[in-house]
Amino acid sequence: MQTDTQNTALKSAAQLPQALAQEPRNPGMPLDLDWVRRMQANTSAIERRAKTLPGRRSVKKEYQAAWLLRAITCIDLTTLAGDDTDARVQRLAAKARQPVRPEILAALGVDSITTGALCVYHDMIPPAVAALQGSGIPVAAVSTGFPAGLSPYHLRIAEIGESVAAGAKEIDIVISRRHVLTGNWQALYDEMAEMRAACGDAHVKAILATGELGSLRNVARASVVCMMAGADFIKTSTGKESVNATLPVSLVMIRAIRDYYERTGFRVGYKPAGGISKAKDALTYLALIKDELGNRWLRPDLFRFGASSLLGDIERQLEHYVTGNYSASYRHPMG
């Protein structure tokens, strides 16, 4: 799926997601209910594929180090806590700018890298934007009554506008789960389309809250409806559900993305969020994306990890690769 021209362009664009202007945004399409209802997801088969994947793909040594660096550039470094303050966000922003100790990067022969974005609640957008000034790292804001999405509809739409006005370049919206659970695809489509419109030039990530959708079949159907309505990304979870990103859910969503690309020619991004905290898990996710979608999706404009503790484990693995000694978390600046 990846052409040489794209490769070259991507190399020069390095890790700055918003600089990748050559990827056209998904404009959406009319709701195609035939397609939605044809979507199938056989849970047992999907689980088998997911379960055997870590045993089928192995990335070692310098490859592992390089893949882990790639993973860092795809992290939406996230803080979504009730006790967030300006200073807390500033500290995390500093980590986003310099996620790995410079001497480790130097040993790996790699220039500076940054995380994919910084992800915060609406009120934390101004300090985040200020702290990231000049870095090129976008601020993403969770929105629309995150995490439950049950505040008044007009306020949810208005919240998007406020966040965009405050400087968020990416908006992570939550869908109304009840539309999925009742099979009201038209309502889901309309809601998503209006939220996309409200985002304007900001990219929109549709959080499906897959842990609350009841079945993988529903995940598949909600995925295509959101893409039809113009989602730039589809995302698994808020991180607040009892079950967040899993490999089976990811397989279903990225297969839906592949289907959508094959039919429309538009690439939609994927963001698993919640529960990915180990470097090894990150490698498995990258292998899954590579095998099912292709290399083009292994870039921050089309793939993100929604994670807070993943970075720390990756830093330890990288130091181990460089020094040969197992690392300790206190050796790496906390985010």
Binding site: Q40, A45, Y63, R255
Partner: protein, 781 residues
Amino acid sequence: MTVKEIFDSMDYGPAPENAAEAFAWLVDQGDRFGHFINGQFTDAGDGFLSTNPATGETLATLTQATADDVDAAVSAARAAQGKWAALGGKGRARYLYAIARLLQKHARLFSVLETLDNGKPIRESRDIDVPLVQRHFYYHAGMAQLMDSEMPDAEPLGVCGQIVPWNFPLLMLAWKIAPAIAMGNTVVLKPAEYTSLTALLFADICRQAGLPKGVINIVTGDGAVGEMIVNHNDVNKIAFTGSTAVGRIIRRATAGSGKSLTLELGGKSPYIVFDDADIDSAVEGLVDAIWFNQGQVCCAGSRLLVQEGIADSFYAKLRARMDGLRIGNPLDKCIDVGAIVDAAQLKTISDMVAGNSDGETYQTRAQLPAEGCFYPPTLITGLSTASPLMQEEIFGPVLVSMTFRTPSEAVALANNTRYGLAATVWTENINLALDMAPKLVAGIVWINATNLFDAAAGFGGVRESGFGREGGWEGLRAYCKPTAKTKSLSPHTPVTTGKGPVDGLDRTAKLYIGGKQARPDSGYSRAVFTKNGALIAHTPIASRKDIRNAVEAARGAGSWAKTTAHLRAQILYYIGENLSARADEFAKRLNTMMGGRSGHKEVDAAIERLFTYAAWADKFDGAVHSVPIRGVALAMNEPVGVIGALCSDEAPLLGLISAMAPAIAMGNRVVLVASDPYPLSATDFYQVLDTSDVPAGVVNILTGPHADLAPTLASHMDIDAVWSFSSSDVSEVVEHESASNLKRTWVNNARSRDWFGDAGEGRQFLEAATGVKNIWVPYGE
């Protein structure tokens, strides 16, 4: 490549498994191996090289067994068998458990050695083969533990000769050895000459487990050694997994020897995808169906049948998936497809594909290693049933495909093959899935999955995929026999001369074919005399054409298998009732023919037998096996199909009914050849059938000399099983001729059966009248 370059390219790099321990083990053994006989390795002798197919490097030198070696192995097994059996199930269980534990403790060594020797990806040997091997020994440790209490009427067969193939060297060894020794048999096993190393490592493990010497013996060598085992006259059972061609040779070679035989042979298993399936999962399933173990899998889903409306998009997705397969060094942990086992096999695959001009051939765009035995995953679409590649087993990573329109057409195409090992069905519609599963002619059906295996579920096929099951309770039947003692059976010969004429009005006995009385095609009849030489009737002499007609009638009565078991029970009761009404007449006929006074006793026993199988008709239940998936493995007892039976001469009425009743109770149709010396009970009996609502063609009765009819019956390709209880010496010819379509056989080897006692009825008959189909149904939403 530098980290920075990989950061941009995001390629997979090499991830090789370390083979040092495996090489160290080979060096410790001197890189040369003898056989494992009587608990010791023999000195290495003249032999052949074992090579790594991925690199061509020599791994070890192996010894070609001589006749003396095979004799020594069989003698050791014979000497050990009595004591091993006498140890009892619980005593044997401890050894099987110890072997399982040792297999677990040396898991990686076995995996790496298997991959070096066979070329299969380390992922498969590590995650599939070796764990299944352990599971098999654990499971059968349990079977040994339970044998004494759960199988009180079973005893071991004796010495088992076992010949295993190169595609799953250690796993096939486990499938053969575990049930055999659990049931108290001892073993002489020959691994394939390409892949003997893990069998020899296993022998080493047996020593560590303290297994009594002689219980397991391993001899290495080529097909000539297999032949010596097959033909050895002190072996009681042959178990073979391999090609249909060799299976056929073994069937003929063991005919009449009294050896038990199970064959697990080739396949061309259908992989059926309906338009409502989870398409991506069905595409992914094919990776595990036909690119698993480089397609060198007897049950590989090698024949893709796709519903026409989705075929183009399905093929497009499949081709894209094929391009993503990684082919290369089998020891690499990031490889999907490894090396073909040997250059000879690679040539066979290449020649078969090169010789095909039908359809459209697509091969993966993924890169192949420059050296070693590799073949690209291949898809050939647009074939027809007439294309040789649609019918012949390729045994390589080559998938052939065609489309279908309806479920019934899918069944017809799926069953349009000489094989019948496995089948896969993809649909999200449970009605469709569960309707398809019984209709597919196969020993294993996977719903929305493929190549699932477990020790608790029997594995094995029908038609030319062989007979017998490995795994589960059903697999134990291949390694034990009833304890009932038998006596030798002397032939009953017809009285051929006497004085006529018939007393009273002449009554003409005929053949009974398709629910009608029929004159013999030959136009010949034979006179039936009493012992004293009184002429009592003439009976037709059936010929091969009458067998043909009877089989056609039986095949045409297939709807009998689909009737309810309740209805079959009702009809069996009705036959009993009608026989009872004519009991005196039948008793008198028996007394007249045979010259005794036991006619009433036999008629009463026959009526009871009909009632017994009427009782069984709706009670010979299948099982739900406890396999380690979220789902069920349904073990269904299916009728065998059309059964030909040469009936007993000792009890002309009871023997006939003892063969007929279990067969039709289970839904089979039968072609019964009546006792030749005493045929009149059978020809009288068709009048009872006529009045008992038995559908035409379900029971067909022929008369004539067994020795003349047996070869035609046994070689008929539309008969699924032949039983012989005849006192004529036809066991050898039945077994020999059955090789035509590898039908199941059950012969008496000139041993008697107590038709009036326990040996005359029950589970042994019901098991012979059925085959176990394991239907795997994973579930979950």
